[in-house]
Symmetry: C2
Subunit: 262 residues, 2 copies
């Protein structure tokens, strides 16, 4: 089942995507819903960010190859994480399918993508075992953890390196039925594939993160966890279009554009 958030005919609503038809609902997948009489063609709606989370969790380092190549880039020894420590991103940076990533005026050329699986929480959860962990998950979508590597290295936090306005494209929709082990993440720039990896080849898996996190905190409906990325990205420039495809979900596509003069 695919949940889509969209705007059409002057209102914003959740819908269920069936083929090319969006069946509008009253309510939401998080708080209960009823199918309405309204249906739209997918091509006729504006796709919105699938959910604005109460808390936006993000796993920084979770794939071995990404860590090794990142360390090589900065001449450091790669250090794999020893425990599943989650981090945060900012809601202020979220944009939807098709919307434009604006490269800040003073960014260096080291603007890069990170294609990520996003876990969307559907139910309040606390103290879940690994075996119970996936029971709180509504479904999965795709995120692009856009990063300016110069600021990532120079700043004490990731606030502008990863959370400048428009740096967090997410979508296009939430897929509830997936086969995690069969997933591949494929990223392409202007139609040419530049990165491919097995999506579930994580150092710490989704069950481990959820069970560890919920020992200390309560996950809420609508919270989401971005699961990190593998491999590396070329530097992106104004005019590039980045497509991130994950098997069984779909493709998140966003153009990049340099900010205009002030």
């Amino acid at each position: 089942m695919r949940w889509i958030k969209f705007s059409a005919e002057g209102r914003t609503a959740y819908g269920i995507l069936e083929g090319d038809e969006v069946r509008e609902v009253a309510g939401s997948p998080f708080a209960g819903y009823e199918r309405s009489r309204h249906a739209h063609r997918l091509a006729d709606v504006k796709i919105e960010v699938p959910v604005i989370p109460p808390t936006f969790y993000c796993v920084g380092l979770n794939y071995a190859d990404h860590i090794r190549k990142g360390a090589a880039r900065t001449g450091q020894t790669p250090v794999l994480p020893e425990q599943p420590d989650v981090g945060y991103r900012a809601n202020s940076a979220l944009i939807a399918q098709g919307e434009t990533v604006i490269i800040p005026r003073d960014a260096t050329e080291l603007v890069q993508y990170e294609g990520e699986l996003v876990v969307v929480i559907g139910k309040k959860a606390r103290d879940l075992s690994r075996a119970e962990a996936l029971s709180c998950v509504l479904g999965y979508t795709i995120g692009n953890d856009v990063s300016e590597r110069t600021w990532q290295k120079s700043d004490r936090t990731l606030w502008r390196a990863k959370n400048s306005d428009t740096f967090k494209p997410m979508g296009p929709w939430i897929e509830t039925d997936v086969d995690l082990d069969a997933m591949q993440t494929r990223v392409s720039v202007n139609g040419t594939e530049t990165t491919r990896f097995k999506t579930n080849d994580m150092i710490f898996g989704i069950e481990t993160f959820i069970s560890t996190m919920t020992r200390y905190l309560t996950l809420q409906p609508g919270d989401m966890i971005w699961m990190g990325t593998d491999g590396t990205s070329p530097n992106l420039k104004s005019g590039d279009v980045v497509d991130i495809e994950i098997t069984g979900i779909g493709t998140l596509s966003n153009p990049f554009r340099a900010a205009g003069p002030t």
Copy 2:
């Protein structure tokens, strides 16, 4: 003017606090409001978290004495920040005036308070100069950035050290009219003062943070920035009550209690 969020008679609303009377409004200070016919005695309402922010910003290191004493505690050389890099906290950890901070079962004895001034954003803001910065501020409240120092040192992020459930008391209300330079922050444990500092004696002030942040991101109504703390805290134990008073705002008071057995 004091904005209070409260529950009474089965509903939650914003109100304007005048002396001991809460004048209920329809709407909010962020999206417009009208005074209603309902008034309550302050003693009769349950005080709620003043606002759940779209994005929860927090300045980690912003007072010199706190940095020097923190470094001394871990035997390191103090490093003062060279630029105003903001960080994040989790909405999931917020609790209100009077609510109980639960010390996790496996926390060490190094559970400490941090009394902080909280800046509450009232209007959408982007590209503000330092001179314009305060124009987007609605008012100020008080936060307790509760911290488990062992996890703060051992983990790659602050997720459980500072964002375990109940680790972010905030309130009691939002004061719109303050004299920043006249403010003192006074923290007491069980009625005995343990920390006192000049609230506005920051390394980077509020105007600098807002003008720097809004070069890269859009602040939204309801966003908040916790401004950091000075000095040090004793270790807190089950049964302690921590009061944080900031001149002109009021006192945030919360008891601490050890988690029960599973």
